[in-house]
């Protein structure tokens, strides 16, 4: 499994999917030109919106690797990290901004440095808590609903992380 990951890393990821998606756009443009242009425009707008976050993630990845040895990262966020690891994972997930896929590359790098799968799963699930949108959620669904949902998301994220720890996905 590890060898496959290394081999994959050296190749261009998505070299088959991207042409397929572009072909899909071309086909859809024949039938729904306005909607396809709108989809393209929304995608570009998403890309522009995400650019600062991309930069942040790249810098964070650089800082992580430069400042912390693989051994230290494994100690902080590895299987033996204990409560500290769970807290970092939950808080990091809540504070991380933008779409999940922006963080995938960084998480995959951390995973290679022995960060536990459970903590990655917990991080990704707690990203469901979108701090900037909480006021809007409260206005639509009320305080009680929002607070309860947030508490259950954190609890659920930790339980999922623990389940993944037990199953040892990454040996």
């Amino acid at each position: 499994m590890k060898t496959r990951t290394v081999n994959r890393k050296q190749k261009l990821n998505g070299r088959y999917l991207l042409p397929l998606v572009l072909l899909g756009y071309a086909l859809l443009y024949n039938y729904y030109p306005d909607k396809t242009i709108e989809a393209l425009s929304k995608s570009l707008s998403t890309l522009l919106h995400l650019l600062p976050v991309f930069l942040l993630v790249i810098v964070l990845m650089g800082i992580f690797t430069a400042l912390m040895s693989a051994k230290r990262i494994a100690k902080l966020l590895g299987k033996q990290s204990g409560i500290k690891g769970w807290v970092i994972s939950v808080v990091g997930g809540i504070l991380s901004h933008g779409s999940s896929y922006i963080w995938y590359q960084m998480l995959a790098n951390l995973r290679e440095q022995k960060v536990s799968d459970g903590l990655i799963v917990t991080f990704l699930y707690t990203r469901a808590i979108k701090l900037p949108w909480l006021p809007l959620m409260v206005s639509y669904f009320g305080y009680a609903f929002t607070v309860l949902l947030m508490l259950y998301i954190i609890t659920g994220a930790i339980i999922q992380g623990m389940i993944v720890e037990k199953t040892s996905l990454h040996k």
């Binding site: 050296q10 989809a39 990203r127 979108k130 949108w133 259950y152």
Partner: protein, 142 residues
């Protein structure tokens, strides 16, 4: 800070991102398509008023939808106004941000099939569990 070392690791990060750029662009382009072609009206029409069925539909439709989270709040609010259950709406809002069809290929390419399948399966199950727990607790409190 070891400056040269930081530059090296920074460049390595840039290279890592560059290698994943086509996959990332695919995910972003798919998000645009899903946002435009899967409309709020289309999603609303899937709900029937049956709690269990609607909760399941809420989970699936939230998972295949794409866009900013506030869109799910707006649709969820409209669904509630139209008499849909809190279970279904909670599942819809939660799966919008925890499940994502468009990012599956990217996740698979970086983490492998076993991780991706397990994580998404767990996320799916927990959307249902959290929806029921949230609404039940709300009922108990009120």
């Amino acid at each position: 800070m070891d400056y040269p070392s930081f530059i090296q690791t920074f460049l390595k990060s840039v290279k890592g991102f560059a290698l994943n750029l086509p996959m990332l662009m695919s995910a972003i382009l798919l998000t645009g398509l899903f946002e435009v072609f899967i409309t709020p009206d289309m999603l609303s029409s899937l709900f029937t008023g049956h709690i269990l069925y609607d909760t399941l539909i809420g989970t699936i439709s939230g998972g295949v939808s794409a866009g900013q989270p506030f869109v799910s709040y707006i649709i969820g609010g409209e669904l509630l106004d139209n008499g849909m259950s809190y279970y279904a709406v909670t599942a819809f809002v939660l799966s919008w941000v925890t499940l994502g069809i468009v990012q599956l290929p990217y996740e698979y390419s970086l983490f492998g099939g076993r991780f991706t399948l397990t994580r998404n399966l767990l996320a799916f199950i927990f959307v249902l569990l959290i929806s029921f727990a949230t609404v039940q607790t709300l009922k108990l409190l009120s």
